[in-house]
């Protein structure tokens, strides 16, 4: 056992020295750059968020929600709390709505489902997570 340790010691020193040399070789603080992907991703989430808000702010949608006894402000709060990924999925649902069909009805359905499943804690999409939480 002892001989083994004596034999491996130089190896571990070499590895440690190698790693140190590698880290010294990196530019001063390369890790500090924010990549383009993060920027584009955020812009996309932002765009989808405003699309969802637009849909929610349509008078017909608000009226129909109210007629179902749902407070649009409640839905609004829920939408605000969506993470970027959840926003993306919700916007995708909106994209896949039947064109030319009952758009208002479909939108209302999406928002109502958002609230109901949320109350029941059913799905991951609708879990209570604050915007920009550490889930990513």
């Amino acid at each position: 056992m002892d001989t083994f340790r004596r034999m491996t010691k130089p190896v571990s020193y070499a590895v440690a020295a190698g790693m140190l040399a590698l880290s010294l070789h990196l530019p001063v603080a390369n890790a500090a750059m924010v990549g383009t992907e993060a920027v584009v991703h955020a812009a996309q989430a932002q765009q989808q968020r405003s699309r969802i808000h637009e849909a929610l702010n349509r008078e017909e949608v608000k009226a129909k929600l109210a007629s179902l006894g749902v407070d649009p402000a409640q839905v609004q709060a829920r939408v605000d709390a969506l993470t970027d990924d959840e926003t993306q999925r919700l916007a995708k649902q909106m994209d896949e709505m039947p064109a030319g069909g009952d758009i208002v009805g479909a939108l209302v359905l999406i928002f109502v489902i958002l609230l109901i499943t949320d109350l029941m804690g059913l799905t991951e999409v609708f879990s209570f997570t604050k915007k920009g939480s550490a889930r990513r």
């Binding site: 750059m33 924010v34 990549g35 920027v39």
Partner: protein, 319 residues
């Protein structure tokens, strides 16, 4: 069907199903709309200079890709492309492989909106469009890649480089059917200094991002600066340009791009953070510290990165 021993549908039911299936596939809303708007393109358009590569066996993928690549000014033979995009066991090519191969040749493939108008608009501005068609019915698909090189709305026709035909003419309605069965998939393949006519900001940036992954920084720098000519305020394009130049080691040029980003978006912390880093790399510590502090003040997503940047720069300025 005849060879299937278990299936013995009533002939009447069979024909009813067939009839319904045919009827359901008859409407061509996009063609109707396009022909109504025919005034926008009163003259036929045809890109006669786009080369033609007759396909071999099932190799329509390599042939179609070679057509658009050569149309964009490259000199590539389908035989060179075949190993990159052709799957012998499937006797065909997958869409993402065509996209990947185009990127490897320094081109920016852009997926068009699923509308006929998008195709005609691109062709009218000189860009041949690679499309996926299903020439048969959905139950026994016959996938086919071809390239749209022209159209004539007065006669409701499309012109394609397709299979063994240099100038395949197909009625617009037929094309809409076969294209719909191909899920309306269509791309243009352009050099980085040329924007698709129908490009939208974020989808276009996404397609440039895919080139970033291949570290084709020279190409991405060109594409981002081209994108800025159409969307001068685009934060993604400003940042992409800065990051590409940074990756190329051109600190001065990167600095200019990030500065432009901070001017267009005075509240974009990422722009100040990356500017700080580029200044730090030039050992301009005081300026760097100022910018890093600004990023931390604004905060938001990536706030931990901003604090890290500041901390590292402060470690230098305090000594």
């Amino acid at each position: 069907m005849r060879g299937d021993r278990n299936a013995r549908p009533e002939p009447g039911v069979f024909f009813l199903v067939l009839l319904l299936a045919t009827l359901a596939g008859c409407a061509t809303p996009q063609t109707d709309r396009l022909i109504e708007s025919a005034a926008a393109f009163p003259q036929p358009v045809e890109l006669t200079a786009v080369p033609f590569f007759p396909q071999e066996a099932y190799q329509c993928g390599p042939a179609a890709l070679a057509t658009v690549l050569n149309g964009s000014g490259l000199n590539v033979a389908p035989e060179t492309l075949a190993p990159q995009v052709y799957l012998p066991e499937r006797q065909g090519s997958l869409q993402f492989e065509l996209l990947a191969a185009a990127r490897r040749h320094g081109r920016v493939p852009y997926v068009l909106r699923p509308q006929l108008e998008a195709i005609t608009t691109e062709v009218a501005s000189g860009h041949p469009v690679l499309v996926l068609q299903n020439l048969s019915l959905a139950i026994s698909p016959q996938w086919h890649y071809a390239v749209v090189v022209g159209f004539d709305l007065t006669h409701a026709e499309m012109m394609l480089r397709s299979g063994h035909e240099r100038r395949h003419i197909t009625p617009l309605r037929t094309f809409e059917h076969t294209w719909r069965r191909g899920d309306y998939w269509a791309i243009v393949v352009l050099p980085p200094d040329e924007l698709p006519q129908t490009a939208e900001e974020l989808p276009y940036l996404q397609s440039v991002l895919a080139l970033e992954k291949l570290k084709r920084w020279q190409d991405t720098a060109i594409a981002y600066s081209k994108a800025l000519t159409r969307w001068p305020k685009s934060l993604g394009a400003h940042m992409g340009l800065g990051n590409s130049r940074y990756a190329l080691g051109d600190l001065r040029a990167a600095e200019a791009a990030f500065r432009a980003a901070t001017r267009a978006h005075p509240n974009a912390a990422v722009a100040f953070n990356n500017l700080a880093q580029v200044l730090a790399d030039q050992k301009r510590w005081r300026e760097a510290e100022q910018m890093a502090r600004k990023a931390v003040e604004i905060g938001g997503d990536n706030a931990d990165v901003f604090r890290q940047t500041l901390a590292r720069i402060e470690a230098r300025t305090k000594n």
